[in-house]
Symmetry: C2
Subunit: 297 residues, 2 copies
Amino acid sequence: MQGCAYIDDRYVAPEDAKISIFDWGFLHGDATYDVAHVWQGRFFRLDDHLDRFFASLARLHLDPGRTRAQVRAVMHECVRRSGLRDAYVEVLCTRGRPAPGSRDPRTCTNRFMAFAIPFIWIADPAKQARGVDLVVSDVQRIPSASVDPRTKNYHWLDFVMGLFQAYERGAETAVLVDAAGNVTEGPGFNVFALVDGVLATPAAGVLEGISRRTVIELAQAQGLPLRIGPLAAAELRRADEVFLSSTGGGVIPIARVDGVPVGGRAAGDFGPVTRRLQQDYWGLHEDPRFVETVAPA
Amino acid sequence: MQGCAYIDDRYVAPEDAKISIFDWGFLHGDATYDVAHVWQGRFFRLDDHLDRFFASLARLHLDPGRTRAQVRAVMHECVRRSGLRDAYVEVLCTRGRPAPGSRDPRTCTNRFMAFAIPFIWIADPAKQARGVDLVVSDVQRIPSASVDPRTKNYHWLDFVMGLFQAYERGAETAVLVDAAGNVTEGPGFNVFALVDGVLATPAAGVLEGISRRTVIELAQAQGLPLRIGPLAAAELRRADEVFLSSTGGGVIPIARVDGVPVGGRAAGDFGPVTRRLQQDYWGLHEDPRFVETVAPA
């Protein structure tokens, strides 16, 4: 696997990046992370990802033992060493191992890691061109009262069960619901729907995605009517346009929801709102306010 | 660290038991596990733990690539090689790594691991003798509609946040609630309360603990009135006796709930129901129906 990882204060090949099975990051999912992407040699909105990573760390009482400048430098260095022009760059911090015989997380030394690997699409360009098939799963997203979804975390079994439901129904991915049956988010993405001319996305119980924020800002700049609040599954099914937002590909059109073509369109024929947002999303990757070039060797 | 681990088809020292940071078992908490204990050279209720492990695997579409007899043999061998007389023995299966660039769990090769390490108490014998200080956290346990708690899993951030709440309040551990405010379970244990002469424990939203089952069976054999159903936090606070059940120590008395002595008793003075169940629990460790001797070298 191409790429570069940083672990135990060293840069290593991805194959050599391993953690103890006794680290609570593994045994208890006690960790947080963030993922930024590099496109054509430039990080996109890296400051926003760093803001979120440090906010997540604080909420979980985790200390990466590094300043923001040091974390940023490690991310740059991972990409530089990998030689990748388009990369998926993750930083993470685990609780570490407790003292022998202890179950007290305060006895752990937290551990910081990072890696840069080839860009991973939520849906590859071929699939994007025809649109993704989505189902509304009846699995409920882990609620905020249990685990704060703003803190990026590895509690994905609800998503994984949703994915298996999608496969059983012949679809490719799933969005989960909340206890009231409203749409929340899916594995690695937020969801948007154009309903009666208004672009809607859930407000609560979801990750505050950087791509989600980018879409919201673009919609505001375009003067699109926007509704950030509960999104009923029924609204998603009757929407004129539906798309996902993710660091893993930006704006990804949905072709079908629960087997029904979105907006009655043919596969690959997406609506104008999705098209324009997709175009503008990639356009921002040329905007110096949002990008920073990976430090050269 | 004393012990023995089994990973990649080999027995290794615990220090050498490491997994790739790219395994979904880590990056997505996509794994299940079970923990049995060995006391004085004998496994306790190993068949029940194996039943639960294979049920968990099936629910998550995980294949350990080993029969039940093989998993049992690995558990025995880990203990035998460790030389431990009292051990904490975990088996686990992770999703593994997806194909490069893929996000499809069906492309993963699942991975089976195991380890035996020195017995880990929920509360060590000294703490047990004076009783544990418990708080009722306002963190909600991840609900069954999101992640099935009968499938033993590594989604512990709710528990970890509960632990930090307990520490802030000067206590040692926490029990979480459900959306209705009823008591569920804590990090590594089920909860029992003697309320108006009835031994009560939550029915839903909790792991179906083997130690919990043992306590229920003992209570039935003793003719104790039993209620398996919703347990209000207020009932826990006014209970005559409160204890935890866990593979990590059996029946563990609670001294205080939210800072108030249980049943108005002095520290270390537990009620008769707790005492008798604790005695009977350890008595079963001599009962050939429940134990099996670790295979000798």
